[in-house]
Amino acid sequence: MIRVQDLSVSFRSPVLDGVNLHAPPASILALVGPGASGKSVLLKSVAGLLRPDRGDVFVDGVSLADKDEPGLAEVRKGIGMLFQNYALFDYLTVGENVAFPLRRLFDLPEEEIQARVSERLERVSLPGFEDRIPRSLSGGQKKRVGIARATVARAPILLYDDPTAGLDPVTSQKIYDLIKGEQREQRGCVVMISSDVAGVLTIADRVAMLHRGKLVFEGSADEAKTSVDPLVRQFIHGLVEGPL
């Protein structure tokens, strides 16, 4: 469903260097790696939010490299995204935030928009939060509103940038259950960055690890756990001794 081919992105220095990656449909791909390894840049490149220096991203077989902004906007209709720091619009209410993709992407009657917003908020355990403003919410609640907004358009591809960062273990597990439940229902493709390796391995079908802009591992969750590669082993098991 998503194919990343020889992707290189640099700002002042290289961030991604020749990354090749495949995320099949109906699966969860966990993207892990130490800080500043290029995970968020890779996720934004998949969403067409960053232009690569070299290489290409194919979403459902469609190349993003030769698309202009309106063309990318068409592709993005099939992608929902949760940003690392929620990216909720602070001048809109929770309900308006969740309704935003529906209002911009589709021509739906207001009753249907409201019904879908209520359904989404109920799904993320925030019923009746429509009129609250984002700054009155806790970190976990903001994440859940972000998930509601990312999933409200029922996009077949969902990108999550560290959905459990800074959350307590119970809330983290609730969010993992929510993401897994959503993915099972939609049979969609999920690419998820997580710094909580142990947690994400419980729901991921496949794991990819980045280190200094390069892909150093790609395989199943079990393969990641049993990998003998010193980098992968140290990171996955959280060992102090090692090359990292």
Partner: protein
Amino acid sequence: MTEASATLVDSGPSALGRLMAPVSAGVNDIAGLFRLLGRTLTLISQGKREQGALLEQMYIIGNRSLVFMCITMGFIGAIITFQSAVQSQRLLPDLTMLGATFIKLLVRDMAASLGAMPLATRVGAGIAAEIGSMVVTDQVDALRMCAADPVDYLVVPRFIAATIMGTAVLIIAGAVAILSGMVIANGVFDVNFHTYLNFSMVTLGDVGLGVTKMVAFCAAIAIISAQRGLSTFGGSEGVGTATTRAVVGSSFAIIVLNFFISGLGYFFVPS
């Protein structure tokens, strides 16, 4: 090749590159501004209007700047009138034309050029900080994920609102400057109100030139500040930098635009 000559050969291109880097950055910057202006003007007619967004921006930019601008221009009017009267008394002890010359100067230039500077600090900084903080918190990327063009959604309403309301605020603040000047002229130099409020020297051309400057300055403030906001990077420090660059860029643009519009005015709208 000796070591010294090799060093010279090696350092040549990088030294030239370093020298040209600010020039190249400046050219790119100006090109970016014109691209954003062109896109904004296109989207004014073709874009998707968000309900109430324009009115909200008109309220934020207009209403919230009005008191600040009136107080600032009130003081400026009083200072200029006082200094003009003191200086002209040294040459000629006749202040009957004090109001007439001040009003002409204000209508033709000062209400726009002096007023636009504090407006840039109030409106320009606000636009850059608001858009900049949306960039660093990924809200602009979230807009793009929802097929909302950031230029259409963020820049267009601010551009229209700043141009309309900024001009209106500058006209009102200019009027306040005239009134404060009149109070000073009457209180300090005993010029009566009727003598001071002399519009006989003001022509329709002066009014046209003054309003043209106001519209141009307000549009420049909006587009430069929006561009600085959209090019923000690096967290809250980046927002601070973008805000500073917005005010500096707007102030510089006001002076340059004033030079060119005044030059055209000299030929087409003689004083």
